[in-house]
């Protein structure tokens, strides 16, 4: 498999014939070691985090075992906990968020990178970056004051009226619920998709576009069939960023999701997510309750692990040999 990392040996006699010390005097070796240490520290931090989560949830893990994944009860008084409603809520809200944010974000990124004149593109990008800086608390408040009433009074009844035969859009419309949380999350993660995708699209070499146009493709075709695939791994990277944000968001979600631990096929139903319940109960919890919440954190980790792995697998399977971006 072609790698895109250029490993050019340092100038001078071949590396093997020089002693370690003389290689050390060469700036490149120091650079390699130092930057390696920085990269390794990232892994170290992650491993430490997992270890701490593992350690702090040991009681709960022994008490509930694998049942934790399928139980639906969450009772701090009787100390009986199950993760299923939270796993469900996390997956549903993240899916809704991505389903909305990815097409919108990618579309906006394409517009900004390909169509808009540079000054307009840069200015708009400034503003979109600001969306990422809005505190999650404010997203939550805006969710309560604006999105929830909108949903309850206009959007949910309209959806029920037109698509109510689907179990997705049935049930009473409270305003809060999975759909609302997904929409708020979508707004929160869109800047990541737009910002990173736009930069990646901008960095695609001009000759790729020109070659496509020279062969007679329309503007859209050259963009969609040549430029975007070239930038695909960067775009996927931005979607990873967005997904991670959506899975881990606490404040905004807890204000609009209804905070009810239940499973429901309907998007109108109030629900709960792992990050939201941790945000709500962790500061006050102790003993088994605390350990159960930490175990939930571990579950989220596991799901992030699986989702990331699946997405990377997808990327590997669909990457053609010899294309510019072959790394996973």
């Amino acid at each position: 498999m072609a790698t895109s990392t250029t490993t050019v040996p340092s100038a001078g006699p071949s590396a093997g014939s020089r002693s370690f010390l003389s290689r050390l005097r060469n700036g490149d070796e120091i650079a390699r070691i130092v930057t390696f240490l920085f990269a390794a520290s990232v892994v170290l931090i992650t491993v430490l985090l997992v270890l701490q989560l593992w350690h702090d949830s040991s009681l709960a893990r022994h008490k509930f075992g694998l049942q934790f994944f399928i139980k639906t009860i969450w009772d701090p008084i009787n100390e009986d906990f199950g993760a299923l409603p939270f796993i469900y809520g996390t997956l549903v809200t993240a899916s809704v968020a991505l389903l909305i944010a990815v097409p919108l974000g990618l579309g906006a990124a394409i517009f900004l990178a390909e169509l808009a004149p540079q000054k307009i593109s840069d200015t708009l990008q400034f503003f979109i970056d600001l969306l990422a800086a809005v505190p999650s608390v404010i997203y939550g408040l805006l969710g309560i004051f604006i999105v929830v009433p909108l949903m309850r009074v206009y959007v949910q009844p309209a959806l029920k009226h037109s698509l109510g035969f689907l179990p997705l859009f049935q049930g009473p419309a409270y305003g809060v619920g999975f759909l609302t949380a997904g929409i708020v999350l979508a707004i929160m993660v869109i800047p990541y998709i737009i910002s990173v995708s736009r930069e990646v699209l901008l960095s695609v070499p001009r000759d790729q576009r020109e070659a496509a146009l020279a062969l007679g493709s329309t503007r859209w075709e050259s963009t969609w069939k040549v430029v975007v695939p070239f930038a695909r791994s960067g775009i996927m990277g931005s979607i990873f960023l967005a997904l991670a944000r959506a899975l881990g968001e606490t404040m905004a979600v807890t204000m609009v999701i209804g905070n009810t631990a239940k499973l429901s096929a309907s998007l109108f139903s109030p629900g709960y997510s792992i990050a939201a319940v941790i945000a709500n109960e962790l500061p006050e919890a102790s003993g088994v309750s605390l350990e159960a919440l930490i175990e939930l954190g571990l579950v989220l980790f596991l799901f992030t692990f699986i989702l990331n792995g699946l997405a990377r697998l997808l990327l590997v399977l669909t990457t053609q040999k010899g294309s510019g971006m072959g790394h996973v």
Partner: protein, 283 residues
């Protein structure tokens, strides 16, 4: 012009217009939020806001001076911690490492990115608060810095990869060592994208509340040095917004506005100060 060509041209025009619509939707979301903040909090953004300490309920004239300074300190320290790790780690992955190490580091960074901010807060609490028996600014910066690492790392690697091989080879052919090539040729070429990512990471942690509640706690007074609890804009927004007082609500919106303005200024300043133009012309 054949029918097929007409169709393709139509599709092209339609889809490109659609992308314009997407961009409009995204940008209008921001303007809407900004407008809301200005409408509800604009009146509270006055001289008092920037110079006075928080006042108790019922007293007018309070401000968030300590929170503004606190947020600035937290973000500065967090960047000093998180950006180098992400940046140099990204350089390692793009320039030096083999694909399996890079895979592991990338995966770890993605996992770290998905951790709820409150769990990072607990992690930082156990490492940086509990052993020292007090909350502090640097503990808060530690938590925020961790959150900056994944975006910085992944994006640095991504944009360094995007620099054409030809540039590297040309530099080597001229006799430059690997490190010289990286610093003088590759990084400047990828500079735009990396800068964007760092600013994005900064924007994200600027608005985080949960990790700070467990590390920097909050402070009604000034927080001298780095070793004491400190107020911060997101934490103040959190406390004030969830209170029953209309005056505090307005101040919370004002704080949101000021936070956004802070990020905007940092964005503009960093692009201006550190701008060297890109080595690769924009296509």
């Amino acid at each position: 012009m054949t029918a097929r060509l007409r169709w393709r041209k139509f599709v092209s025009g339609f889809m490109l217009t659609l992308t314009g619509v997407c961009a409009t939707v995204a940008v209008s979301a921001l303007f809407f939020i900004l407008g809301y903040l200005v409408y509800h909090g604009g009146t509270s953004v006055n001289w008092n806001f920037f110079t006075k300490l928080p006042a108790p309920v019922g007293e007018i004239g309070g401000g968030m001076a300590n929170a503004i300074v606190g947020s600035a300190k937290l973000l500065l320290l967090a960047s000093l911690f998180g950006v180098p790790i992400g940046f140099f780690g990204g350089i390692y992955m793009a320039e030096f490492s083999n694909s399996s190490i890079a895979f592991v580091v990338r995966f770890a960074a993605d996992l770290l990115n998905g951790v709820p901010s409150i769990v990072i807060g607990i992690f930082a609490y156990t490492l940086a608060v509990l052993p020292f028996k007090h909350f502090s600014t640097w503990a808060g910066a530690f938590a925020l810095g961790i959150m900056m690492i994944p975006i910085t790392l992944r994006s640095t690697e991504e944009f360094l990869h995007g620099v054409p091989r030809a540039l590297r080879e040309a530099s080597m052919a001229l006799g430059a060592s690997k490190w010289k090539t990286i610093t003088a040729v590759v990084v400047p070429a990828a500079y735009r994208g990396i800068m964007t990512a760092i600013l994005l990471a900064l924007a994200r942690v600027a608005g985080e509340t949960a990790p700070l509640l467990f590390t920097a706690l909050g402070n009604r007074f000034w927080s001298p040095g780095w070793n004491q609890p400190t107020a911060s804009l997101p934490a103040m927004i959190y406390y004030y917004a969830l209170s029953p007082y209309e005056d505090w609500h307005r101040q919370a919106w004002a704080a949101g506005l000021v936070l956004l303005a802070l990020i905007l200024i940092v964005n503009i300043l960093s692009r201006v100060i550190l701008s060297r133009g890109s080595a690769v012309p924009r296509s």
